[in-house]
């Protein structure tokens, strides 16, 4: 029992695990990215000049190069890519909420023996690889794909709809893929809602739709925000879906990063893009924490 005094409490040990994980796999790689973003691109392997260089024996200089960030701000391409990502992320977050909220609500209000099967149906697509599911959408949306053949077979349209390689295809792919991330946290919030509160509202003269607006919706905001963040943040950096389903006019940061990194071999510029994206994403997270605290206060 003596040994116990010399060891940190078990609680600290357990908390240390995620901290260690984050430091090793998030903070450290990010510092690498930050370092590369401040260096100069060269034609070599790796294709950048190290910040710390030995000029003569024993003498070391540190050369910090901000030109990558300068280029990002000067060339309107990057700004419009940021705006493009913001637009896609915002619109698809809203679409996911609009579609996901009724789904989560319906599952939470369905008889208890139905809930688990319905939730399983939401999670089921994850059992297939993400890439395969996106390729499947190509099969559905392309010119002579499933959808067009069906519509033409029914005589509803004469010539194939052009959906592939348009922003619409990107939205379909993104909303399809991220919908479960909205449904699950919303379900978790709605299932915990005390239904007596709705009875109390009804008793005080509130019609059903106002009960929803005044009680259910405000009390489910933590779920709405969690779901929104789970969609917004990854979609901001999303590149597979716009690359496969979008066209040349779909300009998004993730796609641009890919091009800079692999096509142009400009690691420093790609890294500075990644760093900027992270800053843009930390902001909503800070907001989320703020709202979560307020919700915790309300729920306690």
């Amino acid at each position: 029992m003596k040994l116990k005094q010399y060891l940190p409490p078990a609680r600290n040990l357990i908390i240390a695990v995620p901290w260690f994980w984050l430091a090793l796999f998030f903070l450290l790689p990010f510092l690498f990215v930050l370092k590369i973003s401040l260096s100069e691109p060269i034609l070599a392997q790796p294709p950048y000049l190290d910040l710390i260089r030995e000029i003569e024996d024993g003498f070391v200089t540190i050369v910090v190069n901000f030109s990558n960030y300068q280029l990002l701000l000067e060339d309107s391409l990057y700004l419009s890519a940021l705006l493009g990502s913001l637009k896609v992320a915002t619109v698809s977050t809203l679409l996911c909420l609009l579609i996901g909220y009724p789904m989560a609500y319906a599952i939470a209000r369905s008889p208890s023996h139905w809930r688990l099967p319905l939730l399983m149906l939401i999670i089921l697509p994850f059992w297939t690889s993400f890439l395969i599911r996106i390729y499947a959408w190509i099969g559905i949306l392309k010119g002579n794909g499933l959808l067009n053949n069906l519509l033409m077979g029914l005589g509803l349209i004469d010539s194939p709809l052009e959906i592939m390689h348009t922003p619409l295809a990107v939205y379909i792919g993104v909303v399809y893929n991220y919908l479960p991330f909205v449904v699950l946290p919303l379900y978790a919030t709605l299932i915990r809602l005390d239904l007596t509160l709705l009875e109390a509202a009804a008793d005080l003269g509130c019609r059903p739709w106002k009960q929803f607006l005044l009680i259910t919706l405000p009390l489910s905001m933590p779920g709405v925000l969690a779901g929104a963040m789970l969609v917004f943040i990854p979609v901001m950096g999303e590149f597979v879906i716009p690359d496969l389903l979008g066209g040349p006019d779909t300009l998004m940061l993730g796609k641009l990063m890919w091009i800079e990194f692999f096509n142009n071999k400009d690691w420093p510029l790609a890294s500075s893009l990644a760093a900027l994206l992270l800053v843009a994403l930390i902001l909503p997270f800070v907001l989320l924490r703020h709202f979560e605290r307020r919700a915790e206060e309300a729920a306690a």
Binding site: T196, D203, L204, C206, P218
Partner: protein, 379 residues
């Protein structure tokens, strides 16, 4: 069990011509094959403090929820103030409910909680604020207007719930176990306050409770429910002194029950042969009974006296041996075994701190009671 009412309440249920504010007519509520409420008819009058009393599962809460509109009767009609409300949704009924869990809106502060119902009916802001202030003063939570529910104690939440339910000045206030979540001291204190508020506002209160003491203390009348049916409806005193069924007699307080049959009846004196008591017992009962009819006699423990010697002229005298004594402070409860093996309970007030000759275990005692102290149960 004393009533806390300062005045003898008026007895509107005695006046048959007055239209009751609540008329429940042959209401049945069935869940599957289970009858939660089984053919209940009840009239409740304006200004009453009416309690639905019973153990859990007796249907009292279901009946209250049908009054609020959260459940629809399987059959039967409910009228409130002459209007048939059976199919009217809760948000259009002139009643408000105080929930057992209080159901305060966690995202609104105290003032907004109380103003909620007023906002729904579209009351102007100035008038609303005035009413909210008035309600907060009524339940003495004036200083808590800006607090959120989670920042309140249990007692304060109870007051907010009461103020919110009263704010709209409903015709009827429904209270579901209003004191259930409070500790004993606070509960006793709040009983008096609830009665005071009810008398001041003159609103009809209908309370669901499983606590007989609570019901006895506060109510003008009590409906005792059992297995979905109403066992007896009476003011607390009548319910205690003149229970009409065996269930009612044993649910409220303690009671000694003697099984027997009627020997003869002269005017309002009934002679009952009771083998358990080892002889004949005399009781007062004005309803006509047929000789030979099986009856149960109900005798409250505090009505029994210890007597010094047998009196040949007096009825209802039993000899027994004290087997158990429970000292409760204010009173002691004694269990006396009769020759037949039947046990009779009686209580004595502990008038003196140290009695000179206290009753003790295995002591033989003579018990007696007057013919007026015993009730006859036929159901």
């Amino acid at each position: 069990m004393a009533s806390v009412r300062q005045f003898k309440p008026e007895e509107p249920w005695q006046a048959p011509e007055g239209e009751p504010i609540v008329r429940i007519e042959n209401v049945t509520k069935r869940f599957g094959s289970f009858y939660a409420v089984d053919d209940v008819s009840l009239h409740i009058h304006q200004g009453e403090f009416f309690s639905l009393l019973g153990s859990s599962g007796c249907g009292k809460t279901t009946l209250l929820r049908m009054l609020a509109g959260f459940e629809t009767p399987t059959s039967g009609r409910i009228f409130i103030d002459g209007q048939d409300v059976t199919d009217i949704p809760p948000y259009e009924r002139p009643v408000n409910m105080m929930f057992q869990s209080y159901a305060l809106f966690p995202h609104m502060n105290v003032a907004d909680n109380i103003a909620f119902g007023l906002k729904q009916e579209g009351m102007a802001k100035a008038e609303r604020q005035e009413r909210v202030a008035e309600m907060m003063a009524l339940v003495q939570i004036d200083k808590l207007a800006q607090r959120k529910p989670h920042q309140l104690s249990g007692g304060q939440r109870q007051r907010v719930a009461l103020a919110r339910a009263l704010a709209k000045h409903p015709k009827i206030l429904l209270l579901d176990e209003p004191l259930g979540a409070l500790d004993k001291k606070l509960r006793e204190q709040t009983q008096f306050e609830l009665v005071n508020i009810q008398e001041r506002l003159g609103i009809t209160f209908i309370v669901v409770t499983h606590d007989q003491e609570e019901a006895m203390t506060m109510s003008s009348r009590i409906a005792l429910m059992h297995e979905g049916r109403i066992e007896q409806v009476d003011p607390p005193r009548r319910l205690y002194e003149f229970p009409s069924t065996r269930y009612a007699a044993s649910f409220i307080g303690s009671v000694n029950l003697f099984e027997g049959y009627v020997v003869q009846q002269d005017d309002d004196q009934v002679l009952v042969q009771c083998d358990e008591a080892g002889g004949q017992l005399l009781v007062r009962h004005s309803q006509p009974l047929v000789p030979g009819m099986e009856v149960t006699l109900a005798l409250r423990p505090e009505k029994v006296r210890v007597i010094s010697h047998l009196d040949a002229d007096a009825p209802n005298q039993l000899r027994g041996v004290i087997k158990e004594i429970a000292y409760l402070g204010d009173v002691s409860i004694y269990h006396v075994e009769l020759a037949s093996g039947k046990r009779v309970q009686f209580t004595q007030s502990n008038v003196q701190a140290l009695a000179e000759q206290p009753l003790t275990w295995d002591e033989e005692v003579l018990l007696g009671w007057s013919a007026n102290s015993c009730g006859v149960l036929t159901e």
